[in-house]
Symmetry: C2
């Protein structure tokens, strides 16, 4: 597939990448506006509010790094509440109010204007001790936060895009994963989407985010510990062996294609939860960049099928479908140590437990990290089989016994 990638810079110096589906390319061509004409202050220049980048502190009780808004960033340039900073520029306008310079695009990725992770050139990234106490380690949060727009149409949702567009998005995710992984100090890359007001999304334009963390996140650290113990005990790869067990059991498999299998994990803790993994265990697949052309092509319809099922999972009392609020995130292996122990898989989940009812994270979940599930994975799987779309080439759906 011929996706064209065009790299340019925004007026304040941030990177921006257009990913175009196919000829005739709609964005980033020489005949169209490539560059950002806004009068923004360069991020790292002498007038920049960014004398220091964001800092992070290590919680001694848990070992977690917590990036904080300790750096003073000038947020007065934020667009008004009714503007959509992710819309394409208006044709003929002298410059865009929003972030995208071009008047049309297929998929675009750019650096977040107010990132919680950022490397400021020249700033040393040594550890210091807060208040002179060694127990509190502080470091610059030298990661990177990018935004990915899935469509120029603010009224659409990712579930609505074509398979071709989905394929381009996969290409963009893989591209960013590879490039961000090569940056100095990056420990892991996480491409994710938050959708729905119920999880705090205020900007409805279809978009996702890509975080390049300068540390291993708590979930990855935990999975790595489990994966190492599993390898020592069995010699196998934990992620591959869990997927193989789901395939053998079959009880919670909800969709399968030539290269992918989707299942509700046996110990799902969310009211709706799906994992999606590549089936080929004959080679390591640490991240999206490691997928073959055939796996990428096969992923596009599968991803859209899963989103379609999520939107059919619940209905409003009047019978109209309930667009499920969800979080979808690609778990990828760490860039450095531990890379062999983890494998790529998607975790797609929702806090919606019934129409009008959300799962709240109260004392046990938020205070102790101890989840209590209100349902069972087999029931979730049964429902996700029931709501399969009529036909999508190459995807089979097991049937539940009545």
């Amino acid at each position: 597939m011929a996706v064209r990638r065009t790299h340019t810079h925004m007026a304040d110096g941030r990177d921006l990448f257009y990913f175009d589906d196919s000829e005739p390319y709609v964005s980033g061509a020489a005949t169209r506006r490539l560059d950002d004409p806004r009068p923004l202050t360069p991020r790292f220049g002498p007038d920049s509010p960014l004398a220091r980048g964001p800092q992070m502190r290590r919680d001694p009780l848990t070992g977690e790094w917590v990036p904080m808004a300790t750096h003073r960033m000038d947020r007065t340039h934020l667009p008004p509440a009714d503007a959509n900073p992710l819309a394409p520029a208006k044709p003929g306008a002298e410059y865009s109010d929003g972030e995208i310079p071009d008047t049309d695009y297929d998929v675009v990725v750019f650096e977040n204007r107010f990132p919680s992770l950022l490397r400021v050139p020249g700033e040393p990234d040594d550890a210091t001790a807060l208040d002179g106490e060694e127990i509190w380690e502080v470091r610059p949060a030298v990661g990177r936060c990018e935004v990915i727009c899935f469509s120029p149409d603010a009224t659409k949702s990712l579930a609505d895009v074509s398979e071709t567009r989905m394929r381009t998005i996969i290409e963009a995710w893989a591209d960013r994963t590879a490039e961000l992984s090569r940056l100095d100090g990056i420990a892991q890359v996480f491409a994710f989407e938050n959708r729905g007001e119920a999880i705090g999304v205020t900007l409805h334009h279809p978009h996702g985010q890509i975080y390049a963390y300068p540390y291993l996140t708590p979930r990855t650290t935990t999975m790595l510990g489990q994966a190492r113990a599993h390898r020592e005990r069995t010699g196998g790869n934990l992620i591959a062996d869990v997927m193989a067990a789901e395939l053998r059991s079959g009880r919670r498999v909800i969709a399968e294609s030539e290269h992918w299998v989707a299942y509700v994990p046996a110990a799902a803790k969310w009211p709706v939860e799906i994992h999606l993994a590549p089936k080929d265990t004959s080679r390591p697949i640490p991240d999206l960049a490691a997928l073959t052309e055939a796996e990428r092509a096969d992923l596009a319809p599968m991803y859209l099928e899963l989103l379609a099922r999520c939107d059919r999972f619940f209905a409003h009392p009047d019978g109209t479908p309930l667009r499920l609020p969800y979080i979808a995130g690609w778990h990828q292996a760490p860039v450095g140590e531990g890379r062999d122990d983890l494998r790529l898989h998607l975790q797609l989940f929702s806090i919606q437990r019934a129409p009008g009812k959300l799962k709240y994270l109260a004392g046990s979940e938020s205070g102790m990290g101890a989840w209590i599930s209100d349902t069972v994975p087999e029931k979730i799987a049964d429902r996700l089989r029931e709501v399969a779309t009529a036909e999508r080439a190459g995807i089979t759906t097991p049937r539940s016994e009545p």
Copy 2:
């Protein structure tokens, strides 16, 4: 202090404990109705819906135990939505619609009617393998869930009770911690309160919960790992050393009394977060039951002072105080292994980040466990000092430099 504890049983066999402040005792006396006259089916009898107790599955990716609603429990006896099951019985009524048999009480604790953790007598608690796959361990969730009512008055909040009543609540927490810790199979005890609709609380009667987990929760497991590493490195106790560092720095200490110190932790991840710890490091204080009489007496006004400050932290746009939605939980040392490595401390936190604005847990937090803080602990501490109540005997509040 003379708190009277009276143990009785509910009609279906559940334990119920009255804790009375002082003479004349209002509940549980021989002259008042002690027992529950409702025609409930005994929980564990031949007609019980509880042939099996709740089950839990171990997530192989994280090692977490996830209790699930796999047991079929008959919830049709739930009170109607407008009833308050935590209110005292109505005087003269033949029997109560609610859970409390007596017509008045000070503080009452009883077993949750629909617990997610429960030992069913006679049920073996061996591990089994889900779908015959060793990778998925399943066990009965043989813990216990109790409810604690802080006041008979449904319109009050814990922040409104007297110091005498708070002292009785502390006694009840300590009593339940000690007793639940002795039960077979219990790994740790967590006493906590969820307050506010923003975190999903639908029952406004002032109450908390006490969970006795049959496993170490993820947060405790993580803290234990950090505490062991800290002990190996420094010889010290992690919780005590963090508190000592906060006392030395002083920058985030918000209140101090003879026996207690409250501070915003240096790496706080919630928009409002307070830790409260007992100051005596000359002896181990694993849990509430280990507190001396003087520490308990000193804790009552301190706890109420912290709740009062939380309710003054934000105001509605019209100037009226915003009752902060919060989660307050007592982290206690494990019952068994690791008991020496942890120490009692309270974590009190909120998802409210501004009036009308909540912190949502989106992709980074929910998918990766990776928190991004929107504020800095020093700002939270400054505000919590500003909103100190005029005078509460024995509590000092450091002042922030302007």
